[in-house]
Structures are given as structure tokens and as C-alpha cells.
Symmetry: none
Subunit: 219 residues, 2 copies
DNA sequence: CACCCAACTCAGTTTGCTCTCAGCAACAAG
DNA sequence: CTTGTTGCTGAGAGCAAACTGAGTTGGGTG
């Protein structure tokens, strides 16, 4: 799921876009005006932003300028009813990465978003784990404190399974079947939990005695 | 002066664009057909490319595909007489960063180029690698300790690909296709990794067992 | 033609991941 | 406290993956 911030005051267009973008793998957050867009963009992290140009409270290009001046580098695409060449030039020079004039077709918006995101492979499959995030494609955990840790194939598979459903407890037989290809001895599971804890600390996986293992600490 | 490759078969348009772009601070190289564009893009280093879509020898989108498959990450803007939404979508999905339909105004082209370069500053083909920086034009690594090391074409291509995306792991088949022209044996990759390590030390490339190789050590 | 260097193949060696096992620690129930 | 059960941990065997040195090919150059 790619987090996307949509700043759009037209309620109908906003919900339409949200519906389409959701089916394309985006996690859409909607801001109804520039002020709220500014706040969301400053406090949360998005991989891409789509902004209308004519907005209440803070005008679109002004919003881009403010964000850029504060160091926000998220790629931004402007939607606008104003489609003259000069309008486009102004929009791009304000700091937007792309500019699409209304009326536009959804398929072009999607293609332009893909082009923007192609450069930012941050949407590599990554799951949150306590103290960092698990990158399954690269088999590593990037920790919030900054460093990164390598995992072996089994370690990554184990953590990935647990991280995909935090809170739920996985039994040993279940893990044995799904990660360890139904190995001989059930203690492989213990051993690999041990390996993960050694690498990532004891906060990542907790034991539920008699049942199995679970992501995170008991709360 | 920003080196720009213009691939355009229309002589009149090419010279017009060259004149305008030159006054805007670009150093323009013109290729009259796709074959020549491919060759120039592979052998020289440009910060940005502008391609016509309808080209002799190799068609524009095909050209983009070939370059991308060989690891060229230079931002590309497509010019085209074909301006339907589907044409735009095809162009962007082929790997272009932007798509501008003819007729267009020069000022919009300039604004879009500025937007592209803002996001991808200094594609000047000097990429940071652990312990120094890789100069793809000269096929050498200048090290922080002062000395410089020459690389062969394959060594440079391999390192360049890895250095273009630090952190991400490249599989052997991927590397085989992109730098070794799909050679017979996959161990060429190992061999060249070995060569690079011999020249630059064991810190530059790390292996992720079962997956492939990655630039640098995780820290 | 002889030479050199880069590109590629190959096979013997080494590495490190996977899994087993056995002993120890923690825990719950009697 | 004792005892049985469950989980933790370190050591090590087996094996596939990766490393590496040596050799072959082929294009370019004096």
C-alpha cells in the first residue's frame, strides 16, 4: 500500500479519486483544504501527493511553496482546471513534479503517478515490526534508530509471517509447516526465534507459553 | 552547462530546439535516429534526454525500453505528435518521466525540464560508493584516501548499476541481463564482483546469500 | 603475426545457512 | 519443594551457495 495524500476540495472528485486510487494499491488520505493538507503533509509521511490548484484556505501552488521551503521533498502532482501553457509553467516552477489539466482521464493520472513513483522504490514490500520495518525484498530490517540488519532467508520468512498478522499467535506446528517446510524437529522454530531475537533484541517476538509465538511484546 | 541528449529526426525542429535549449544553459547533443541515440546514451553521460516518439531505426518507446533495461536511469521526456490519453499512458509506462504532445510551447518544455532536473540533480555520472566516488564517464573510482582506480567496462557497468540504487539487492539473473548481455554462465557475475572487490576492497559490494548483491555494507 | 587485455567459463575450495540435538532454565501444578 | 513440562541456548553435521584462481576465447594494437 502506497501512502498518498490527496488535497482536493471538490467532495465528489475526491471520493471518486479515492475509490479508483484505492483499487490501484494506494492508501489515500484526503485533505479538504490547503490548511489541512499542510498539516497532514508536515506530520505524516506520504510517498506522493496529488493537489488541486484551487483550494480554500491555502491556494495549491502556495501550499507547494510552503512545503518545499520546509524541506518536504515528496513528489507532487498538480490537478487544475487552469490549463494554459503559462499555468503549467507556473505550476511546475512552483515546485510540482507534474501538472495535469482538467478534464483529464484517470488512466493518465495513474500512469503519471507510476512514472513519479518509479524513481522512489520505497514502496518495496515493507512491514512494520517493533523498532523498525522489515524489507522482505532485501531481507533486511531497517531500524528506527537508523541502522539496518541482514536476515537469512528463514529468519526473514519467519518474521514476515509474524509481521503480516501482528497480535495473532502462531503455533509451532503452523510455523514449522509454513516456514520450515515441515522439518523433522519442532525446535527449529525455537532456534530461529532465538536467532531473530539475537539480531533484533527481545522486543520483536514474544512467547505465548503453550501456544506459540507472536510479533511484539505482550501488552 | 547541462548535458542534454536530443533524439529527433525532424531536422528543423532539432535545430530550433537546440538553439533555444542552448540559450537556457543546456549543452545539446543531437541524434538523428534511434540507433544513434542508443549508442550516444550508452557511451556518453547526459543529465536528461528528450526523445521524439516517431524515429527511424529504433522507435522512441522501444529506445527507452532498451536503455532502461541496460540500467540507464537518466530522466527522459518524450515529445510526440500522438497525444491521446492512451499514447501518454504508453509513453510513461515505457519508462519515460514525462510526456509532452505536439504541438507544444517551448516555455512548457523548458518548465518540464526544470522540474525533471530539480528532482534528479546532477546526473553527472559520479555516484558515491563506499570509500570513494564512481566516475562512469572515466570508468574510474576516485577514493577518499586520494588515489584513483581504473575499471574495465563491465566492472564500471556493474558498480554503476549497484551504486545507482544503494541498499537494494540485485539478483544474479538481473545483473546478468543488464551488464553481461545474458551471458551463458551466471558465474560471470560472481567473477566480476570478485574483480571489483579485489580492486576496491571487500567493503564495496556485499552479498545477500540466495538473493544477489548489493552496494556497500548495511550499517 | 605476436602480444595484450577484457570477457567469459569452469572446477576445486570455502563459507555460512539450515536443521538436529542435548543440556539447561523457567515455569506451573501437585 | 519437587517434579514434569515447556522454552531457551550453544555446538556441530551436512550441504548448497558463493568465492576464487586458472584457463580459454576473441578483439584490438604495435
Amino acid at each position: 500500500m502506497i501512502p498518498l495524500l490527496l488535497v482536493e476540495d471538490d467532495q465528489d472528485l475526491a471520493t471518486l479519486l479515492q475509490r479508483v486510487l484505492s483499487t490501484e494499491g494506494y492508501q489515500v488520505t484526503i485533505a479538504g483544504d490547503g490548511q489541512r493538507g499542510l498539516h497532514l503533509a508536515m506530520t505524516q509521511s506520504f510517498e506522493v501527493m496529488v493537489l488541486d490548484r484551487g483550494l480554500p484556505a491555502i491556494e495549491g501552488l502556495d501550499l507547494i511553496g510552503r512545503l518545499r521551503r520546509r524541506g518536504v521533498t515528496t513528489p507532487m502532482l498538480v490537478l487544475s482546471a487552469r490549463g494554459t501553457t503559462q499555468d503549467r509553467v507556473d505550476g511546475l516552477d512552483a515546485g510540482a513534479e507534474d501538472y495535469l489539466a482538467k478534464p483529464f482521464e484517470i488512466s493518465e493520472l495513474l500512469a503519471r503517478l507510476r512514472a513519479l513513483l518509479r524513481r522512489h522504490p520505497d514502496h518495496a514490500h515493507t512491514l512494520p515490526v517493533p523498532g523498525g520495518s522489515l524489507d522482505l525484498a532485501n531481507r533486511s530490517v531497517r531500524r528506527t534508530r537508523g541502522d539496518a540488519i541482514e536476515l537469512s532467508e528463514r529468519e526473514a520468512a519467519l518474521l514476515g509471517l509474524l509481521a503480516a498478522r501482528p497480535e495473532v499467535v502462531f503455533s509451532r506446528p503452523d510455523l514449522l509447516a509454513r516456514v520450515f517446510n515441515d522439518a523433522e524437529s519442532e525446535t527449529v522454530v525455537d532456534t530461529y526465534v532465538h536467532y531473530c531475537r539475537k539480531k533484533l533484541g527481545h522486543g520483536v517476538i514474544s512467547t505465548v507459553r503453550g501456544l506459540g509465538y507472536r510479533l511484539g511484546r505482550l501488552s
